[in-house]
Point group: C2
Chain length 429, copies 2
């Protein structure tokens, strides 16, 4: 006899369907999420701020008929603490903004509320979504970093505290923590979603990110954020014809186990009749790691002008980044923007009919310790090019810890990326 699945472990879409069918009540699912938080939050520390069970249920019951008829049924969503919420502080992981209470919801928060989602709380972010870690531990191994900057969102979703959460990525802030914690992380194409109310770090790089445990939930959230009906975009799983495989070594150091995992996945693709092509010349991608860094330094230095009034309250890595951006020649910044455009063209002209690029989502499993969030290199090239990316769990090292792979698509090809990810999800299951 198997124990019944705890309802907090379902996908958001499954939760909604089970409520529609009368298998679970919304309150039963909400309570299961809170049970999980009560059991695990003392160790995982995913939340910067959260509603308690009573406050959440009051919010639900006060508008129960709205939630019952809504798309998201009053189910819980986590929001990275870099994204403004009108009923909760938004502190951006910095003591400069301790207790900062926004007056408006960010657009993405407003849209989720309109769809009947309830914001359970704010998830831990690194300082201004850069490198200085928050308090979160990796739910798969508490001795390890969850990755950053969307640390709390990745951990809360991976640990089944909430089915979905929002984050943001400027370097590797969605893909890396999702890979380390074993959740799905999706980064939208540059310009794809409204970032109103999501605090900017670098305007040429910032993208909204979504976390879930099933690809169908990413499609559901995407339709809400795009103000489209789910049926308006193609959502069925699509098997790719041709996948371009990028070895991590083309971008930076990767572990032997990660290389083996990628190789094993390539073999599985071949067995499924997918044409697998190895990306060979890769100097461009390695250079793109540096170009990404230049763009980020230049723009962060300008975007955080307000905080440069309080230099003593900024971490050393962030101060260093801003100093680098301040002393940089504008020509270097423009050169890096130009290189990103050209590398994007180069990448997609390498080989005809490529649906997606497959690459390691991180160099390895999550590193031990909590003083750093791991290397962002595996994400920098795609982020500099503004491409949509998704990381999928399913691969593991010999100790059973997650090794994430990522799929990268052409700019604005987000719908098709998610369709292909849905197919990969079955291969990785």
């Amino acid at each position: 006899m198997t124990l019944p699945l705890k309802p907090n472990t379902l996908s958001l879409s499954q939760m909604c369907r089970s409520i529609e069918k009368g298998e679970h009540t919304a309150e039963a699912i909400i309570n299961a999420c809170f049970d999980q938080i009560e059991a695990r939050e003392p160790d995982v520390r995913a939340w910067q701020y959260q509603l308690d069970r009573e406050a959440y249920l009051k919010q639900y019951r006060d508008n129960q008929s709205f939630y019952e008829s809504s798309l998201l049924k009053g189910l819980p969503v986590g929001i990275k603490d870099i994204i403004d919420t009108k009923n909760m502080p938004t502190e951006m992981g910095s003591s400069i903004h301790k207790g900062r209470q926004p007056i408006d919801d960010a657009t993405c928060v407003a849209l989720i509320r309109q769809a009947g989602g309830i914001i359970l709380g704010k998830t831990v972010t690194t300082e201004f979504a850069y490198f200085k870690p928050g308090k979160t531990c990796n739910p798969k191994d508490l001795a390890r970093t969850p990755g950053g900057s969307s640390s709390g969102s990745a951990a809360a979703v991976a640990d089944t505290m909430v089915p979905v959460a929002l984050g943001s990525q400027t370097a590797a802030s969605v893909i890396r923590p999702a890979a380390y914690c074993g959740s799905i992380g999706y980064v939208g194409s540059r310009g794809e979603y409204s970032l109103r109310g999501a605090q900017p770090l670098a305007q040429s790089l910032d993208s909204l990110g979504l976390f879930s445990r099933h690809v169908e939930d990413i499609q559901l959230l995407r339709s809400i954020l795009m103000r489209q009906n789910l049926s308006d975009a193609p959502n069925e799983s699509v098997k790719p014809l041709r996948v371009l495989v990028c070895q991590g070594a083309l971008i930076g150091d990767t572990s032997v186990e990660m290389a083996q995992a990628l190789s094993a996945l390539s073999d599985r693709l071949l067995n499924q009749g997918v044409d697998v092509v190895d990306l060979e010349a890769g100097g461009e991608l390695l250079e793109m790691v540096d170009h990404h860094g230049h763009i980020m330094a230049w723009e962060v230095c300008r975007n955080l002008a307000l905080e440069s009034n309080s230099p003593e309250m900024l971490s050393d890595p962030l101060s260093d980044l801003m100093e680098q951006g301040k002393s940089m020649k504008r020509a270097r910044y423009l050169g890096s923007l130009k290189a990103a455009e050209e590398t994007d063209k180069w990448l997609w002209s390498l080989c005809d009919d490529v649906d997606v690029v497959l690459a390691p989502a991180a160099a390895d499993i999550a590193p031990l310790g909590h003083d750093k969030t791991g290397s962002p290199h595996m994400s920098r090239p795609w982020q500099a090019m503004g491409l949509p990316v998704i990381t999928l769990p399913g691969m593991q090292n010999s100790a059973g810890l997650p090794l994430g792979v990522q799929l990268i698509a052409r700019h604005r090809d987000d719908d098709r990326l998610l369709q292909i990810a849905k197919w990969f999800e079955t291969v990785l299951a």
Copy 2:
């Protein structure tokens, strides 16, 4: 004997120099600005919110040694009421946000304060920087619209209430009001400035804008917003080698007087030895007017999700735009983004060695009446392409009302655009 120039009529840079030389005190200049506001504001109505003279002088005197040693000497700056200020409400021209008090300064505001500028007040904007006018009248003829959406910034600067002001442009919101009121208006390249704290309308179109009466002030503000020393960018006047002239008729209806003014300016350029080339094939630009409208409708619909909770408080034109964006097919939106990219390539490949495009900044002088802000068509193509643009006063119709021309440069060629504008300023003087 000529009367001495009132110090509020100087450029910001002249004001700073005159303080350095001991010709004027900062307080004398500040008082002259307030004298002008007291005399004219009852008619012009440029301000949504403003410090009174005593509060301003208290702010100045409380930190006098900082201001005396600062770049901007405690001189006044106006801020469009779509840009967040921590000590003044930011209402975005909408009753939805009546009394809305931001908790943080926008980046651009923080940078101006760091440079020793004092925010005198918030200037009138149309509703969410779209079409519904605010209360401002055109200072050159009160019976006419000042244009929009940065109506108050353009009027306050043209009327010598403040030397400079900030605005923003998504369609024609800087160029048109500057042209109608007779001030200089500059729109930065897409992505050039931090827009943190400037409320977004359409992320693929929004640009920061600056208003002044002299090009050197635009260069000064630009250096502050870029966190660079003024001497780090080339600032001297540059005579263009070749100018591509775009007749307004290629984009939409223009008046006979505007066509004549453009023609007269072309003749002056020829007399100065500038190579003037007429842009002939122009169907692409006309199509770009529609493409701009599609991008705007799609993105505004998403960015104003929060306000769609209060549909009864939105104007009809804005509701219509959002409805259009909601029912639009995504393919149409993506097609318009693509067309903008391609038209940008087309434009700059038409003719070698073109420094700037010269075009009418608006269809004509400011229209009579206050129920509309005039046609945005002359700006839509360049804004869809994300190009830097500056409009310069100096041309007039037979009644002496301003006819603005605009100069358009390649993406990110902002420094050179301003150098060439400095040369045009002398031609137009």
